[in-house]
């Protein structure tokens, strides 16, 4: 992109006129020139926010924010209404339980830690299972990463403040993590982020979270 094209794109992003797909791509683009142009546009247009009259938020909203912060299973992108969230969570548990019942009907192993990560359309996308002290990831509905981007897998044990990278996800979608690199535990957060080639340049995720879920013992396992 030429500098003028970058400015145009950043301006339309900040103005809000980009369509959903384009807006997501711009927000996730690691190009420093584009991100700097966005920051300039935000600063330029910020005074327009004064045209929106302040209004008191509903009582109880802070409590809801605090609850979400305490249990960060949230991909805010996925929820449209308060009541959808419990339904989403219940749906995810039901999918997980159903899959567990299907996968482990015959043998009777120790309680199985697992989770199913859902897509933005609430379709099961990834199955994450604790296995032999390590973790195994399988794509349920393989989708290639967008051109020029990679998917990176992370784990965040409950109580930890920074996630640990478990590496990049190959196009096959199948990943096995050796027991030494991760200690699966109930409540461990598993997330997949969109990153520049080679993965996040930082020890933490740099791109948006595409999929997220918590390990739990599957009922009946």
């Amino acid at each position: 992109m030429t500098p003028d094209e970058i400015e145009d794109l950043a301006g339309e992003y900040v103005l809000g006129t980009l369509e959903a797909g384009a807006a997501r791509a711009v927000a996730a683009d690691p190009d420093p020139a584009l991100q700097a142009a966005i920051a300039r546009w935000e600063a330029r247009l910020a005074p327009l926010s004064a045209l929106a009259p302040p209004a008191p938020p509903p009582p109880g909203l802070w409590a809801r924010i605090e609850a979400s912060l305490a249990a960060p299973v949230v991909v805010p992108l996925q929820r449209t209404r308060n009541w959808l969230w419990p339904a989403w969570a219940a749906g995810a548990s039901a999918v997980a339980a159903g899959l567990a019942a299907f996968l482990w009907l015959q043998p009777a192993p120790a309680p199985q830690l697992m989770t199913v990560l859902l897509s933005r359309q609430d379709q099961p996308a990834w199955l994450v299972q604790a296995e032999g002290g390590g973790l195994r990831l399988a794509a349920l509905n393989p989708q290639p990463a967008p051109e020029g981007r990679v998917l990176q897998l992370w784990a965040l044990p409950q109580g930890a403040t920074a996630p640990t990278s478990l590496g990049l996800i190959p196009p096959s979608g199948a990943v096995s993590i050796a027991p030494g690199r991760v200690a699966p535990s109930p409540g461990m957060l598993i997330e997949i982020t969109l990153e520049p080639p080679g993965g996040s340049p930082n020890p933490r995720p740099s791109g948006p979270i595409l999929f997220i879920g918590r390990l739990a013992a599957a009922a009946g396992s």
Binding site: L51, P57, R81
Partner: protein, 175 residues
């Protein structure tokens, strides 16, 4: 604590600092979301998502690039725009009052009163009225190109071109 220091504390996981930011800024930020979504439930969702993003991304705030209030406003605006897009922007735009957002010189005094707002106000007033109105409808009320075209009774292509040129003109005027 100034608001940049507040964001630094939030980046360090200070929950009390986040609460203090909420107490100080929630009405302004809820107003921004409400103007974009025109529905209190959805605006509450936007403020919720926005505050989670503020908590997660406070470390990315860079005071050399703008004021803390501009940054928090932008985070909440984008959370609201994401909600608007997920709903296919099926947000009522037939409210006649929507067209009455201030575009005239004296009404834009609120813009001029904001930090760095005077210059922006002057540059907006230098735009042709339809371009100014299109830009305000998009920024303040979250209207898409198509909704602006319908509102202003102009062809879609014209609106897209005008907004693009209006932004370029603003950039030239503000630089």
């Amino acid at each position: 604590m100034d608001s940049a220091a507040q964001l630094a504390a939030i980046a360090g996981g200070d929950r009390a600092a986040l609460r203090a930011l909420y107490d100080a800024e929630a009405p302004r930020l809820f107003g921004i979301a409400l103007a974009l979504l025109r529905d209190r439930d959805r605006a509450a969702d936007a403020l919720h998502d926005g505050f989670l993003n503020i908590a997660r991304r406070a470390g990315q705030f860079d005071a050399s690039r703008g004021a803390a209030s501009a940054w928090t406003g932008a985070v909440v605006r984008h959370a609201a725009l994401d909600i608007a897009r997920r709903q296919g922007r099926e947000i009522p735009t037939d409210d006649p009052a929507l067209g009455d957002i201030p575009v005239e010189a004296e009404a834009l005094t609120q813009v001029a009163a904001a930090d760095d707002g005077r210059r922006l106000r002057d540059c907006l007033l230098a735009l042709e009225e339809s371009r100014r109105r299109g830009i305000l409808l998009a920024f303040v009320h979250g209207l898409s190109h198509a909704q602006i075209a319908a509102k202003l009774e102009l062809p879609l292509g014209t609106v897209k071109a005008w907004i693009r040129r209006g932004l370029a003109q603003l950039r030239g005027c503000l630089t």
